[in-house]
């Protein structure tokens, strides 16, 4: 019992003494990339700032920001981000970096998308072949991106047959499902490279600029929530847009592949 109390106090203490700590909601795809594991210790070392990550979908990240439950969000869904700022929930939107989406599918590629000319073409191929396709279906940034790609290709996902499976899950869970069904899926490159349960799946299509995925940093508006740690949020923003962050982000690789391109504009 004494031991337990000791440990309990210890846990309490660690939770309480984290003076300089802020909460940031990030997308599952960002977290799954593993970049956070590189950046957070450096932020801790440089700024003495503990960034607590809430790993959620873009939709939930925006809600957390609206409610003032986090101090900043880092997401990738431009239209939703701009609405977030326009409605006054965030002070501004700062682009940090981008990575890209890739289309993954069974290695024998029944829809023959690996030699498609562009993203439109490859999605057309999947829809024509009616081969299983897993959609995130969770209103996340990746999901919204996928929907917009279908529409760009002149297709309506709501009219698809049962080859189109909306799983309503995070990136990893959706990849697991795709792996189990041996289905096509749109994933961000980082999540895909870090995913360990690839099974028979392979990267089949990438490189079309339309698949680029811009990450932006949005501090939550302290005018709406006075407990929001906006000073810490702006210190983090300065760091994320610094040379130091640029080197770390551009230098992050998995299997010798670069995942993120730093593109923050310094004022």
């Amino acid at each position: 019992m004494k031991r337990f109390l000791f440990v309990a106090t210890l846990l309490w203490a660690t939770a309480a003494q984290a003076q300089d700590s802020m909460r940031m909601a990030v997308t599952t795809s960002f977290h799954n990339s593993g970049l956070a594991d590189v950046l957070l210790p450096e932020i801790q070392a440089d700024l003495g700032l503990e960034v607590q990550l809430l790993i959620v979908g873009t939709g939930q990240a925006l809600r957390l920001g609206e409610a003032g439950d986090v101090d900043a969000i880092l997401v990738h869904s431009r239209a939703a981000e701009e609405a977030f700022v326009a409605n006054g929930y965030g002070t501004h939107r700062r682009e940090i970096m981008y990575n890209d989406f890739v289309i993954v599918g069974p290695s024998n590629d029944p829809a023959a998308i690996s030699d498609a000319a562009d993203a439109n073409d490859s999605l057309q191929g999947i829809a024509d072949a009616k081969v299983p396709f897993v959609s995130r279906g969770d209103d996340s940034g990746t999901h919204k991106k996928e929907l917009s790609l279908w529409i760009d290709a002149g297709l309506d996902p709501t009219g698809f047959g049962d080859w189109y499976r909306a799983v309503g899950a995070g990136m990893g869970a959706a990849l697991n499902t795709a792996s189990g069904l041996n289905a096509y899926i749109l994933s961000d490159r980082a999540s895909w490279l870090n995913f360990s349960n690839k099974g028979d799946l392979a990267l089949l299509f990438s490189g079309d600029p339309v698949l680029f995925n811009q990450y932006a940093y949005l501090p939550v508006n302290p005018a709406l929530h006075d407990h929001v740690k906006s000073d810490l949020a702006s210190r983090l923003e300065d760091w994320l847009t610094s040379e130091r962050a640029a080197d770390l982000i551009n230098g992050y690789t998995i299997d010798r592949e670069t995942l993120f391109i730093f593109n923050a504009k310094t004022d």
């Binding site: 337990f4 440990v7 309990a8 846990l11 309490w12 660690t14 939770a15 984290a18 909460r23 599952t28 799954n32 503990e50 607590q52 990550l53 809430l54 790993i55 959620v56 609206e66 409610a67 003032g68 439950d69 995070g170 990136m171 990893g172 869970a173 990849l175 697991n176 792996s179 870090n194 995913f195 360990s196 349960n197 690839k198 929530h225 407990h227």
Partner: protein
């Protein structure tokens, strides 16, 4: 099958090497659930005893509600607690969201109906046995409840263990109100969900095996403590 084996070996090594991160989340799991359990018992046992000894108008209704709440989906509890504790919710000023305390609150809500329902069944049976004697002795309501709780302590221990099992293995509520923040609110179950999401099945399974082992260890310990009161003697 390969994953299962990998998971087992990985669990073995994690435990053997005393992986500090594993130790931290395992201890946090225990801290959250044992604290929630202690609070839940303090609420549920007297409630169960009260329902056993008192006859009042809505007694049956309350028992029926408690029984129904036993199957309360943790996700729903999590959402409700989230909405209450959110900065824009009624209890937002407390700043409890995404802390272990929020997880404890959610778990208390989840396990109180379970413990109270199981406890009520054994206390009700014991009350039938004791009724005539305690009435004849003019025992006060309070004393009746205390007597029942003390004399049914073994059955109540079983109820508490059921509550512990539900709490320690629960992920839906604490994921929402805790946020699965590394070093702050990550516990075994949320870590398992996270690793599964990354497709790291072996590590997820390893954590799962650690969770199972922990649960069994706690159960055995508590049973063993109960056994130290020797049979036939009290």
């Amino acid at each position: 099958m390969v994953d299962l084996w990998d998971g087992l070996t990985q669990a073995f090594w994690l435990v053997l090497t005393g992986d500090p991160e594993l130790a931290e989340i395992a201890l946090r799991s225990l801290y959250v659930t044992l604290t929630a359990l202690a609070i839940a018992c303090v609420i549920a046992f007297p409630l169960a005893a009260f329902l056993a000894v008192r006859r009042f108008r809505f007694r049956r209704l309350i028992i029926a509600i408690l029984n129904a709440l036993m199957g309360l989906p943790p996700v729903v509890v999590g959402l409700i607690v989230y909405v209450l504790l959110s900065r824009s919710g009624p209890l937002g000023v407390l700043g409890l969201l995404f802390t272990p305390t929020a997880m404890i609150i959610a778990q208390v809500i989840i396990i109180v109906p379970l413990i109270a329902s199981i406890a009520h069944q054994s206390l009700r049976d014991l009350w039938q046995e004791y009724h005539d004697l305690l009435i004849s002795m003019n025992v006060s309501q309070r004393q009746k409840m205390r007597t029942l709780i003390w004399d049914a302590r073994r059955a109540l221990l079983t109820a508490a263990l059921a509550g512990f099992g539900r709490g320690i293995g629960e992920v839906g509520a604490i994921m929402i109100v805790g946020g699965n923040i590394d070093n702050v609110t990550r516990v075994l179950t949320t870590a398992i969900a996270l690793e599964t999401g990354k497709g790291a099945f072996a590590l997820a399974l390893a954590l799962g095996f650690v969770l199972i082992a922990l649960t069994i260890a706690i159960n055995l310990t508590i049973h063993w403590l109960g056994q130290t009161e020797r049979e036939g003697r009290w």
